[in-house]
Symmetry: C2
């Protein structure tokens, strides 16, 4: 497929006239062909009109038709073949195997949401039947289902050019919920975005979905992204990116005449607790696993282990030495964009120069846009005093905080902001301390894990990729896994609506064979859909 650099507005492809942007080869900083034309406010208006027009039709498509559409998107993405992989590798600088794996995850997410749509449980169908004989007042017939919230704006992430971008988790869960989607492409991978956008456009056509079900806009400034969040036809926003960017969108959404939810996944330093027993018995085994997690994908994961908390002593110092040795040997890796690389270098330089911080190790030097891994250490006192030590350094850098005792470790933990993940390494002896810390872990993080690292986010039913602010803007939600669909739904009650006018999910006899909660109890479904 020849890249055209065009906006995809419904079933049209339009050359944007509002400035241009280009993909950049991450490894060399060289601009790539073609130029992408930026969307104008008029283009945005057209996309929003189409999405709003499509909404009532799209949200009432049958469950099987909508699931088949999600599956078709996955097929069309795979049909792009190596062209997608090549372009994505060039734009992101990520290794080929990683990009291929991410494509698998992206298609897997679409398949998961297709399964969730077929199941129909997300509708939360409820029936409280009428009780005409109830005293003192008869009870009305009341039925509830979830409906799609409305057209959704999705902002792709730089660090997952497939799985959190044009056809990523936000788009998949919004489409599954019945919401048309308008994607504002990330400027770091416009070619990847166009390819995936055309795959979705093709699936819309193939499945006979309304034109406005999907649009893809390029933005040569920040104007269009901001206007998209402010547009009254947009009813929710999905975003993965920086804290500054996410908070800016939150403020735009809160200032609207009709405020709307923003699901921003932003900033997390993902503390790792090394419990005394575990450090003493196997600290030197944990150290290389830690370095492997820290340097995976050049440290550009939302769940990258940027902070280690441990009780100081000989065992921790031995851990530090082993980790430093492993990190010394870590190869430099190309970062996603020259800007991200520059920000990383800046963050590392600040830590290196900080009076209260020891530099334990730095990895190998690399090319102009390659990150050199780095490991630092500081005291709990300094960490409590110096707020700048808490800033996320996006990339393969981590800071060890040496705590005088377990009580100090708990105080440091309590002082942290919200996190996507907190990992604890523990042995049997550490169980009592872990029990003491657990309530704090639950307050601070969306995912708590034992004897592992947060990198590697399983896409399933029990995953939470979320957490208290600033990890996300909305701690009630997850952006990965089955529950991501809930972000794009709202409940509606139907009172005494005649049977023939009820949505099928709420009819007696359960024609859709979805789970129906009757007077609060979920009725069994037919086995063939189980």
């Amino acid at each position: 497929m020849r890249l055209t650099g065009q906006l995809l507005i419904g079933q049209s492809a339009v050359s944007g006239q509002n400035g241009t942007l280009r993909g950049i080869a991450a490894a060399t900083g060289e601009p790539l062909e073609p130029a992408f034309g930026g969307a104008s406010l008029h283009d945005l208006d057209t996309a929003c009109t189409l999405a709003d027009d499509a909404f009532d039709l799209y949200r009432e498509t049958g469950l099987e038709a909508r699931a088949a559409f999600l599956d078709a998107i996955g097929r069309q993405i795979l049909a792009l073949g190596d062209e997608l992989i090549d372009r994505c590798v060039a734009e992101s600088g990520l290794p080929r195997a990683r990009v291929e794996g991410e494509r698998g995850r992206t298609v897997g997410q679409l398949a998961l949401f297709a399964q969730i749509v077929r199941d129909g449980g997300f509708l939360d169908a409820r029936i409280d039947p009428a009780r005409p004989d109830r005293k003192p007042l008869p009870r009305v017939d009341l039925r509830l289902r979830n409906v799609a919230i409305g057209p959704v704006a999705v902002f792709g992430a730089s660090n997952f050019p497939l799985a959190f971008s044009v056809a990523g988790g936000d788009t998949a869960s919004a489409l599954a919920a019945g919401c048309p989607v308008i994607v504002k492409a990330h400027s770091a991978h416009p070619g990847t975005s166009e390819l995936v956008g055309r795959a979705i456009q093709q699936a819309v056509r193939e499945c006979g979905m309304p034109d406005g079900t999907f649009s893809l806009l390029f933005d040569a400034s920040r104007e269009i992204g901001q206007a998209l969040v402010a547009d009254p036809r947009i009813k929710a926003v999905g975003f993965t990116g920086s804290r500054r960017g996410g908070v800016a969108l939150m403020h735009i959404a809160a200032a609207r005449h009709e405020p709307i939810p923003v699901y921003a996944e932003m900033s997390s330093i993902n503390p790792v607790l090394l419990m005394p027993g575990a450090v003493a018995t196997r600290g030197e085994a944990i150290a290389p696993q830690f370095v492997a997690s820290l340097t995976l994908g050049a440290g550009q994961f939302c769940t990258n282990p940027g902070l280690i908390l441990a009780v100081d002593g000989p065992a921790l110092r031995a851990f530090e030495q082993t980790a430093a040795a492993a990190l010394d040997a870590a190869a430099a890796q190309t970062m996603l964009t020259p800007q991200i690389h520059a920000a990383y270098c800046d963050g590392v330089a600040k830590l290196r120069a900080h009076d209260a911080v020891d530099t334990l190790a730095e990895g190998a030097q690399g090319g102009a846009y390659q990150a050199r891994a780095a490991l630092f250490a500081t005291s709990a006192d300094a960490f409590m005093e110096c707020i700048e030590l808490r800033d996320e350094v996006f990339g393969p850098a981590s800071l060890i905080v040496r705590c005088a005792d377990a009580g100090t470790l708990h105080r440091v933990l309590k002082s942290l902001e919200g996190q996507l993940t907190i990992a604890a390494h523990l042995d049997d002896d550490d169980a009592p301390l872990f029990r003491t810390l657990l309530p704090t872990l639950e307050r601070k993080a969306g995912r708590i894990l034992v004897n592992g690292f947060g990198t590697g986010v399983e896409v399933g039913h029990a995953m939470v990729h979320g957490g208290p602010f600033p990890a996300t803007s909305d701690t009630r939600t997850t952006s990965v896994g089955a529950r991501a669909i809930e972000r794009f739904l709202r409940p509606v009650s139907y009172q005494d609506v005649p049977a023939a006018l009820l949505p099928p999910a709420l009819r007696d006899g359960n024609p859709l064979n979805v789970a129906q909660r009757i007077d609060g109890v979920v009725a069994a479904r037919e086995a063939n859909h189980g």
Copy 2:
């Protein structure tokens, strides 16, 4: 019980020193004894500290213990007997039977949430078991449950001094979720608030719950309410009241370092659609039902029918005449507060004086603080042009919008803001038109009802008392019914956490006997809990 006018901070009663307020006899405007001392910022800090200290304990109380606590609150409220009813009647001006009915609803809500807690389904327990043999990568063990979001601030409503106030739906659902609650009492019924607050305080003691599980603050200005929403220990807000008040709290919450959800139920004019067939065949039967709904409780329901949309013609005019005759005969009724009465008179005066509005009827004149019901009519053109005709007039006033045809009616409907309810009166002949309108009804309202009126909100599993802004601040939620508990929960994942350290709801063997979703499928539970 002698009213003391004291703040209830955990298990203490403290005389507030930051100004005073008094209940006012709604019927006469006379101040009632005693004076209530306003909370200081120090009192607020104490209450928040206690709530935060109580949180980790309270949220992990056993399901049966927490359910028994909710039941105990209901018992303690009933034990207040006539003293509560007398004081509530005096402060609110509501008829005795209504107040007694509202007490029943309040106790019923507590019982519903006790049942929901015992059921345990709100935990949304999920288990994706490990698959060590999965290729290319083994799958980790991942489990999810909902946890309580944190201490909650509740702002009582003037119009439901029991069911939406100190022990109302917000408090009941937050306590059910595992959240300590701090109530800012509504200034319109401080005596009722103290009585109910003491009932909760007694239940906390009786059930051995942590001291900080509940506090009740009086606020002589707006300072304490605003500071409560801004306090970093507060993690969610429930509010029922005016649009201005709700939006002010939304802005405070959005401007916090850590933004938090505000569940504000604010403003709705609850359109009633009179479909052509229904008006023609039984408009004169619908008219008195409409007037009864309009004047119920002096029109001070959130779901009061403030707007009628209908196709103009002889049938509508006959409806108007019958409704006007019924309304002429409607007795004046005492309003909740002199301020609400003044605002109602002002709203009615503006409609009466409006060039494009016909006054169809006004009810009987009454006492100084009594509302006179009023019915107005205007054209669709005027309604589309004059934005002021959309303002909620809180009280027994309604405006009929005469539409030239069904298309005009649909355009007017599309132009409305979000609503709690939309009612449609229809006959079999109207089914095709209703089908055309239904997608718009679903976009605009949280509850759609046929051949009835929105007043009378059933507390059950399928109720949505919510809707798009400005009906509420968060269209994803309901403040009445079983799903209200979801507002105060957030999901947490546990990855590879050893069995002995897992929360009981997530353990193999299901010791709590709650619904567990295993690999996406809800496992059957033991029948005795069904």
